[in-house]
């Protein structure tokens, strides 16, 4: 085999998928980093580059503007800004990547929350000349709130600080202390120059003092799944499959995607919210029968008893079933343009279940810049993050978001026009105690913390 076909064969072998998000403000060089990752991993195609060159020439620019690769909408190109989250795809022989490219503009919070909600890793960019700034703290706080398992601090523009180790070390130390205080479980700091290509895809020859991975190496090797033994099994029923044909007269299967943990044939299970119990008789993983299946597989489960189960119910091991509740205490990020107010009637979508609900209280609003809290704000507007107390019309089998990003998350929806109002996370906001957060950010506020 030639070297070329060897590379191809590697690229075509079975690989895993990693979803990650980038966060950075306008001048941190996020577009350059994304462009560098795509370019150096050979994921930009000739016709795409030609289109960018053409468009750049058409506007009188001499060099191709790589931001045009990512700004896909007319309004974005006209205004030279990024409006919305875009999803990009690239691959290396070791892994496929889905990148949620989140803009750092005015609507930053909801955009980053959207991108981070499905991300297993977040890259937070910092300009080496400026160090940790307010925007950096916001990004770290969003990553912590959304419980993104891995955070990469990319200290960019190292070429503009003479590739000096002390500059990097000071920023890395400050950021790590801050992010760790919010409960971010894993932080990796990497000194880079996206423009010059240092430590993005290729190791830098300018920073001998750095012995860690490049950004891409880290993306390729970070574990993409959690240890199943840590997670309780959760199976929201999406759809009941009943063929009622001569071939399958009595078949009744519960279709869904396993939200967390693993299910096993023979396991005793409880159906929520009814509380009825049964045993798993069989599991079909899209046409193949299996003894065990795990998140995020889409499967069909059969039970030994004929129970009344429908879309919206949750099947869980009887030993680990969540307690249904109608009172939800959660942190929400408000994503709609109209406000969320106390007393508002909403719909709450949790897994496959949508129920009526009312906003009983908004105890506090969080200021991401310094993590200070504003008590009883009365309402939340676009991009606000706040604590809410919600009463639902029917019981929900809700987990804490800390235990399961899938069964601890929900949407609030406007029943009048269907607008998605807020992204909700049940339970405590940050992974550490309120006191620890307060201490770490040295808040002067006497009223203390409930975040």
């Amino acid at each position: 085999m030639t070297r070329h076909t060897e590379e191809l064969a590697e690229q075509l072998s079975a690989t895993t998928l990693l979803r990650f998000a980038t966060a950075g403000s306008v001048d941190d060089g996020k577009s350059t980093l994304v462009g560098r990752l795509l370019h150096d991993s050979k994921s930009i195609f000739t016709d795409q580059l030609e289109a960018v060159e053409q468009a750049s020439l058409g506007r009188g620019q001499e060099a191709p503007d790589l931001a045009l690769l990512t700004d896909g909408l007319r309004a974005e190109r006209e205004q030279g800004i990024t409006i919305d989250v875009a999803y990009r795809y690239f691959a290396t022989p070791r892994r496929r990547f889905i990148l949620a490219d989140t803009p750092g503009h005015v609507q930053y919070t909801r955009n980053m929350v959207t991108g981070a909600s499905t991300a297993e890793l977040a890259v937070v960019l910092v300009d080496a000349r400026n160090g940790v700034v307010e925007q950096t703290r916001r990004h770290a706080a969003v990553a912590a709130l959304l419980r993104v398992p891995h955070v990469v601090l990319a200290v960019n523009k190292m070429d503009l600080v003479d590739y000096a180790e002390p500059v990097f070390a000071a920023i890395a130390e400050e950021f790590t202390a801050y992010a760790a205080s919010l409960g971010v479980p894993e932080i990796t700091a990497i000194p880079i120059s996206a423009l010059a290509g240092d430590n993005v895809v290729k190791p830098s020859s300018h920073m001998d003092w750095y012995g860690g991975p490049t950004v891409l190496e880290h993306l390729e090797t970070v574990p993409s799944t959690h240890d199943l033994s840590d997670c309780k099994a959760r199976f929201p029923v999406q759809y009941v499959i009943r063929p009622q044909t001569t071939e399958h007269p009595d078949y009744r299967g519960y279709a869904g995607q396993i939200a967390s943990g693993a299910l096993r044939v023979g396991e005793a299970v409880t159906v929520l919210p009814s509380g009825r119990t049964s045993t798993i008789a069989g599991i079909d993983v899209l046409g193949k029968s299996a003894d065990i299946a795990w998140a995020p597989q889409s499967v069909t489960v059969r039970l030994t008893d004929d129970l009344d189960i429908s879309r919206g119910d949750l099947i869980a091991p009887s030993a680990d079933a969540p307690a249904p509740t109608q009172d939800v205490l959660a942190t929400v990020c408000h994503v709609a343009d109209s406000a969320l107010v106390v007393g508002q009637r909403v719909l709450l979508k949790h897994t496959t279940r949508t129920v009526k609900a009312i906003v009983k209280e908004i105890p506090s609003r969080l200021t991401l810049d310094d993590l200070s809290q504003h008590p009883e704000p009365g309402q939340l507007v676009a991009n606000d993050i706040g604590r809410v107390v919600i009463r639902t019309a029917e019981p929900l089998a809700l987990d804490a978001y800390a235990d399961s990003r899938r069964t601890g998350s929900f949407l609030l929806i406007d029943p009048a026009d269907g607008t998605t109002l807020a992204a909700g996370m049940a339970g405590d906001a940050f992974a550490v105690t309120a006191e620890a957060v307060a201490e770490a950010v040295a808040v002067q506020d006497d009223e203390g913390w409930d975040f």
Binding site: L12, D47, T118, T225
Partner: protein
């Protein structure tokens, strides 16, 4: 009994899914969400690889029961016969209901006028949107992938369309976790893209893994073609070649299948799935960049057509 997922070696845990298993699981989840939440869903079905893949995934999602969706073909009137053949065979084999919206009917009745350049893809929007209204479809599956085009990179999995089927990129709902919001008012509908996160290579690798049958025009074969706007178009009654264009026989295959007037063939000797995959993995051109005339019309061609109600 066996476990069905492919377990990957290396740094990942034994419970990591292969990328194809992860994409398959996600697409199936999306099909089932629509089945659970909508009254009248339909799969847009052209007979091309993406729509055949969608049907395959839908069949898996609801087995052993039937697919609870009908199919809708927007027929430009300039179809490849091999594609119509496989369309009709799949419909018969799986006992599906097929709706057809015909561009030719609209031209014949005077409701649409043939364009001077002969392209019919841009004419599909009106028959498509009127059919959606007439049949009161509330969810319409499309095979669009975000890797195809930069306007599509901004597309949601659940994309709300107004009563005129229009897409407004500024008014898209944020899409969080796997919680898809399908709420819509009467007259509005939701376009659903279960293949959003697949790339062209993923599609081909999955087709090979599942041994899915495709129209023969996806594989290299001898064909009479002529060159227009830098692309090899199939000669035929639809309107080519013109006087200045000459027909020649070449060994080609198609990377995408759409209307004959704007889908170009590429020179290829890939006659098997394996060869096609190797060819695509090595290609430095995107699928659309290589073979779609209608996307070359302007920098925002796809965005503009999406705004009007196209996919």
């Amino acid at each position: 009994m066996t476990t069905a997922a492919t377990v990957t070696e290396g740094t990942d845990s034994p419970y990591a899914l292969s990328h194809l298993d992860a994409l398959e699981s996600e697409a199936v989840h999306i099909f089932r969400e629509v089945a659970g939440e909508f009254e009248r869903p339909v799969i847009l079905f052209s007979g091309g690889k993406d729509s055949i893949l969608m049907l395959h995934l839908a069949l898996k999602a609801f087995a052993p029961a039937a697919v609870p969706f009908s199919l809708l073909h927007v027929d430009t009137g300039h179809n490849f016969p091999e594609v119509l053949d496989i369309r009709d065979r799949l419909v018969a084999e799986h006992g599906l209901r097929l709706h057809v919206a015909s561009v030719q009917d609209y031209i014949d009745s005077g409701a649409l006028r043939e364009r001077p350049d002969g392209l019919r893809n841009p004419l599909q929007t009106l028959p498509l949107t009127e059919k959606i209204q007439a049949e009161r479809f509330d969810a319409v599956f499309g095979g669009g992938r975000r890797d195809e085009e930069k306007a599509r990179a901004k597309e949601r999995v659940f994309s709300l369309r107004d009563e005129f089927s229009q897409w407004d990129p500024r008014r898209q709902r944020p899409e969080l976790w796997q919680l898809y919001n399908g709420r819509h008012a009467p007259g509005e509908h939701v376009r659903v893209f279960p293949l959003s996160n697949w790339t062209e290579l993923d599609v081909w690798q999955y087709i090979e893994r599942e041994q899915i049958e495709l129209p023969e025009i996806y594989f290299a074969h001898e064909r009479e073609v002529f060159k227009r706007s830098g692309m090899w178009l199939t000669a035929g009654e639809w309107g080519g070649p013109k006087d200045s264009e000459t027909v020649e026989t070449r060994q080609v295959r198609y990377r995408t299948v759409g209307d004959m007037s704007c889908t170009g063939a590429v020179d290829s000797d890939a006659t098997t799935l394996e060869a096609v995959i190797t060819e695509i993995a090595a290609s430095r051109l995107t699928e659309r960049g290589a073979t779609r005339a209608d996307d070359k019309m302007s920098e925002a061609a796809m965005e503009d057509r999406k705004r009007e109600g196209y996919f």
